[in-house]
Subunit: 360 residues, 2 copies
């Protein structure tokens, strides 16, 4: 059966919506159909600045997008504190939901959204783009190779960028009433997801936040980190920050191999990406050197990861619409596990860096 | 004044002594002069297997090496528990000391050695080879560049290798009576030194060991990690292990830049080495990509890092011998700071992962 073209409505004119709108245009099974903002003028300006088709429906409210019967799915880049309201309403209006991260302020809020999606039979996916890069699948193959990689023992991840003064003053991501998790929710989300991904989504038993998180005047986190511990002895650490140079690392070390990547969230280039895989590495005893050397793996892509994300989402939506399939629960599960760990890290910070159990 | 050729005596036939003997041969101001082992036969076999000059003095005890008036300096690759005895005796015999790491079981023991070296006017240096690679100086320049790198905020280091069953059963490095610090002293030493190096040797205020160190049956650490915290908000983490694939990372993140290296202890190749420097990195908003990209810096060397270490040590010894200079205290200071942090990490592990103050 030919795939349906999924008609997207965009809720709001966030900066990230520019990138995802381009991705919807690039995705072969998706189309920009409607945009709603709190004013028609703003929505109209955004649509024309970002090359939306002339036929795009321009609405002066988010409700109007949800009330349009021809909108199949909504992309929700609103501030986190507004997610419950708009995702629940979208689900009730039978719109499938592609939700920007961090998905929620806490897992209780997320569960309200997931229950609404579930009971209304709509697909849910969060906007973690790198999950959809074919490099990610190739790296997963390596981590799952019990010969070359062996068994995972430690993971380290960093995601940071240096926010400019305007961001630190005005961005929704540093406002306690909009994105109360600050850097932990924004950049820390990716670190936690990376760590869970590396473990094949085993929840840690315990997290212990690092001392010395940095806050803004309103008490929102600008920089923090944590250790994570699994029952089987695996350990992970991460560091996330709005205050240092752009850095996007995953280091995963196994009994037989190691994976290194320095651009996991946003690849250095759009059309190809690489990772380093070390397997059975040794060093020579007498003469300085390694044998064998780590190998570099290059993955070429036709579409950027954000378009692949949209394509995957629309494909799932198409199955629900066209075949009456059940929504794919995998993506909701990954969002929920990520949120559970974020919540535990936040709790550890709030409790003076106590060990906090992660309860699935 | 022409540099003197420093005549080395080697105490013992440890595996690492093969590499350092080659380094002494390669170093232009150093010569292999004597070797002592607990048996003449063993010393003789080692000398011929490793291409010592035919004139090398072969001794059946360590004392005999120290009693040879023509030995200028000794290289001490003995098990850590023997360091105090032999380093103090060597210093009393006016021999300069190149000491394999970990230098001591604790800073109290190290101080006995450093005091002996000081009061006898002999040079002390530990055998941390990578400190002497010209790449290390180039990386230091980058970290000190307040424009390109900015101010250091976080550091992560790993040193691990997968020990084979024979090592795990028989190596001195897993024996409580010989190298009681296990992986912390052996591979953790490098991580702690790397972190201190990155901070320009500022001692952390506090360390908190990671949960879940792995021990052998005798209670010696095979794998562990720690977080380190500085007064000014810098944070570091490290992970060291005998149980996973060879991994040698330093990741240093500053306000304006980031440094990555994956072969800091032993470069991938003997004749050249590289590091990655990111400065003022940004990612493009609409199209996937970074601008600017990190840059790769390649440093070519004539001599391997271990020969450069020997050359530097012999040069200092030559100054003491030839010019009556005072021994250079820098190297003792770096050893002592590294040991202080190791001791604090060990104390944190022993106290159930409590925060432990590092008192210089």
């Amino acid at each position: 059966m030919a795939e349906k073209t999924i008609r997207f409505g965009i809720l709001g004119c966030a900066e990230i919506a520019r990138k995802v709108s381009r991705a919807i245009k690039l995705s072969p099974n998706s189309t920009l159909y409607a945009i709603g903002s709190r004013s028609v003028e703003k929505a109209s300006r955004f649509a024309s600045a970002n090359g939306f088709p002339p036929s795009t429906k321009i609405y002066g409210s988010y409700e109007a997008v949800l009330d349009d019967p021809d909108v199949d799915a909504v992309y929700v880049p609103l501030p986190t504190s507004l997610h419950v309201r708009w995702v629940v309403l979208a689900a009730e209006k039978k719109k499938h939901v592609l939700l920007e991260k961090p998905v929620a302020l806490n897992v209780g809020d997320l569960d309200l959204m997931l229950e609404a999606c579930d009971s209304n039979g709509v697909q849910f996916m969060d906007g973690t783009m790198w999950m959809h890069h074919p490099r990610t699948a190739k790296m997963r193959e390596f981590l799952s190779d019990t010969q070359r990689f062996g068994h995972l023992k430690s993971i380290h991840s960093i995601f940071a960028f240096r926010a400019n003064p305007d961001f630190l003053k005005n961005s929704i991501r540093v406002k306690p009433d909009l994105d109360a998790l600050g850097a932990l929710g924004d950049v820390g989300w990716y670190c936690v997801r990376a760590i869970l991904w590396a473990t094949d989504y085993q929840l840690p038993k315990t997290v212990i936040a690092s001392h010395g998180p940095i806050y803004n005047e309103a008490g929102v986190i600008l920089s923090c980190g944590s250790s994570l511990y699994w029952e089987d002895g695996k350990v992970a650490t991460f560091h996330c920050s709005f205050l240092v140079n752009t850095t996007m690392d995953i280091t995963a070390v196994g009994t037989n191999g190691a994976l290194h990547i320095h651009d996991f969230v946003i690849p250095f280039q759009e059309n190809e990406a690489s990772f380093s895989a070390a397997a059975e590495s040794g060093f020579t005893e007498l003469v300085t050197g390694w044998e064998p050397m780590p190998s570099e793996h290059i993955i070429v892509t036709d579409l950027p990861q954000e378009a692949l994300m949209v394509e995957e989402f629309s494909s799932l939506v198409g199955s629900v619409k066209g075949n009456g399939s059940k929504p794919e629960k995998k993506w909701a599960t990954l969002s929920r596990k990520t949120q559970l760990v974020l919540d535990a890290v936040k709790a550890s910070i709030d409790r003076g860096f106590e060990a906090v159990e992660v309860v699935g």
